[in-house]
Subunit: 419 residues, 2 copies
Amino acid sequence: MQVHDLPALAGLRVDGARLWKSLMDLAQIGATAKGGVCRLALTELDREARDRFVEWAKETGCTVRVDAIGNIFARRAGRRDDLPPVTTGSHIDTQPTGGKFDGNYGVLAGLEVLRTLADANVQTDAPLEVAVWTNEEGSRFVPVMMGSGVFAGAFTLDHALAQCDREGVSVRDALCAIGYDGAALAPHAVGAYFEAHIEQGPVLEANDKTIGVVTGALGQRWYDLTIHGMEAHAGPTPMELRRDALLVAADLIRAVNRIALDHAPHGRGTVGCADVHPNSRNVIPGRVALTVDLRAADDASLRAMDAALRAACANAPLPVDVKEVVYFAPQPFDAALVESVREGAGALGLSSMDAVSGAGHDAVYLARVAPAAMIFVPCKDGISHNEIEDARADHLEAGCNVLLHAMLRAAGSTQTESA
Amino acid sequence: MQVHDLPALAGLRVDGARLWKSLMDLAQIGATAKGGVCRLALTELDREARDRFVEWAKETGCTVRVDAIGNIFARRAGRRDDLPPVTTGSHIDTQPTGGKFDGNYGVLAGLEVLRTLADANVQTDAPLEVAVWTNEEGSRFVPVMMGSGVFAGAFTLDHALAQCDREGVSVRDALCAIGYDGAALAPHAVGAYFEAHIEQGPVLEANDKTIGVVTGALGQRWYDLTIHGMEAHAGPTPMELRRDALLVAADLIRAVNRIALDHAPHGRGTVGCADVHPNSRNVIPGRVALTVDLRAADDASLRAMDAALRAACANAPLPVDVKEVVYFAPQPFDAALVESVREGAGALGLSSMDAVSGAGHDAVYLARVAPAAMIFVPCKDGISHNEIEDARADHLEAGCNVLLHAMLRAAGSTQTESA
């Protein structure tokens, strides 16, 4: 038996070509004509992709368990198998017009780590796990990030199982139908959680960096605004006698932008929806509904942004209803794990920069119950949730190597089994 | 035989109660539960209302003709019947959720003038006419102001007859079905045209005036704008890397307002429609379509407003397509007829103010082929095209008296027949 410590494993690398082939193979399941993937959660296609993952995991020597919300845990035993596992993962459900990389990369990067360790006969102290979290996208069932949300106690299993899609099919029935209604396992302790993911934004590409060291996830506050004006004929109504709801909406759209800029660099403010009533060419709009999405890296900023939005609405020249509909607290990732990602990228000679996750990810829920961190790699033009989503094989390989070494470090001193 | 000249007729007044009763009677045809009227052009209800008008006109001693687009002309002979008639009128089709007064008031005020003259045995030099113009509203068939548009040569009879409603029924067939497909009369000369109408705006009420002396109709330029941005996820995309089409739209909405204010008092600028793509809460809008409606009293202003709009679009930080879809030239009314309305209101002791017509009216087309003017009376809260449209009986009576005396003056010296 030959024993290696961490420095001796510093030269270990994943097989980028194998990772890429696995990504392309999995992307065949639900492949769209435009080169994307449509593989909604808990469909037959999802079952097929899950089966493929389970088959690959078992070939790598893993044991596989499925919990009651359909999360899959592929486990590679550790030398001290009583330790909580070092876990990585993501999701393999997609948007209706999704791409090949969102989620799938995190799962298959985890699989590639296990394959690499198996090939090199490396054994870790703590066991390793690759998790496939159920229904991250939320395209068919809400809430989004359902599997990781149940795991982290963000909402109950029963609540999740009772949700129905637009055809009235419940999560419970959909899980049964595809045979992924697992045992009612209590969520197990996780020693550390890493998630590799395409950035889904343009920052790494704009800065020509390979690795995003994700320091945390932005908090989010979402609102529904309704502006109440007075419909009137656009011809006979002079400007000074109007109560134009769309004009006030325009000022609030600008205000949301300004509020975000006031909280640079991580403040974000988006009006995604505007619905105008009656939406007629020659009628002054009488009512406009806007959605507002505010994000910030810390709760003090998010509170200040909330106050600024409410002030803008209160000071508007027409009545504005403000209803907050979603709140996610900012979620900093574990400082030690973040540092290990940062150092790992440096040791591998990869360019990197600190980043924040603006979107929700399973890691954000996992961070509630375990030390967690994420590794971003660039995606082309920052585009995701789109069939043209694309990423470079060398970037995906680089992120997977960072994941490998971060997991090795978190899993404790390692040794090779007898070759 | 007793002869009166105009001064002797100065004391002549319409019967306000009779006018009100006729308005209420006609409003029963197509009455809605909310107190409005739904009487779309060339429907069975329109036929019923037309029949009622024809019956009333004949009872008043008129001859009635119908032209090929269904316009009805009720004619009261003049002493010199070879003179071109002094005509008044409007329309009796309504919006789907229309009121009792829009259009109907102009027609029934004209009828009340003829009834008053008949009761007082007044004969005019020139013949008098009350016209009912087909399909002013455009709710079922476009173009709007169809009957007066054909009469004035704004478009051809054949073009109008060929238009179809959403069920594919043509104007030609609809006219036949209700028996108002009249003879292919050549449009006849009109000596003067007056139209009494509710204001459909808030200006008279805001200024506490009974009579609006309408000096002309605003010109109109309508546009479709399309702003091309880039859809992106609202979370991962920092503010400085966004191409947010709705943010640019907001600035253009504000710009349209500013352009109108720069051309006070008659400049108008309205964005009535905004359609956002993909209109999703957490996606930065990638494309926004806006409609723009610019109006002004003179063509120089309208040209300047057009240039300012195009400059705002050209200077926007994202590409903006600008397509002009409608152009109506400003239409000043006949100075002498406007003055006779102004003087008539004064002689009747009525408060008045100059006004412009911001909306389209049959009179705007008539002004292309005859001296024309309009008389506005207030409507409650400026509301029209709405079942709650309302107007005061005393205002309607006052406007009708102004119409009476304006028509008497335009029709030349008058005499009473033998009593």
